[in-house]
Symmetry: C2
Subunit: 65 residues, 2 copies
């Protein structure tokens, strides 16, 4: 499934990598694309949208519902 | 010696840790204190001021002369 999230709190490349790694820790085969200026995060994963959102939140970023 | 640097480009805790680690990679006994909101970085190190500034710059941040 492909999900698009609006994520706030990512300020730099470290944050971008932290989000990518958080999603990959949940699903190592996930594809994750982050647009840092807009905060848009596109994820292709077999996991649920909620599970992916939770992984991003647990990394310390806000995900719009 | 104790040095104070004005560093720009640090936006988050990841950046703060990246700067601390960059200085510690140069001098593992260095004491590094970062004030993220102001960008002020205070370093106690046996290394030269120039060497410390270079380590911070090589991590990708700007250090005022």
């Amino acid at each position: 499934m492909q999900y698009t999230f609006q994520v706030t709190g990512m300020t730099c490349g470290h944050c971008e990598r932290a989000v990518v790694h958080a999603v990959r820790a949940l699903d190592e085969e996930a594809l994750v694309k982050v647009d840092l200026p807009t905060g848009q995060v596109v994820v292709e994963s077999e996991k649920s949208r909620d599970a992916v959102a939770t992984a991003i939140r647990e990394e310390g970023y806000q995900v719009a519902a």
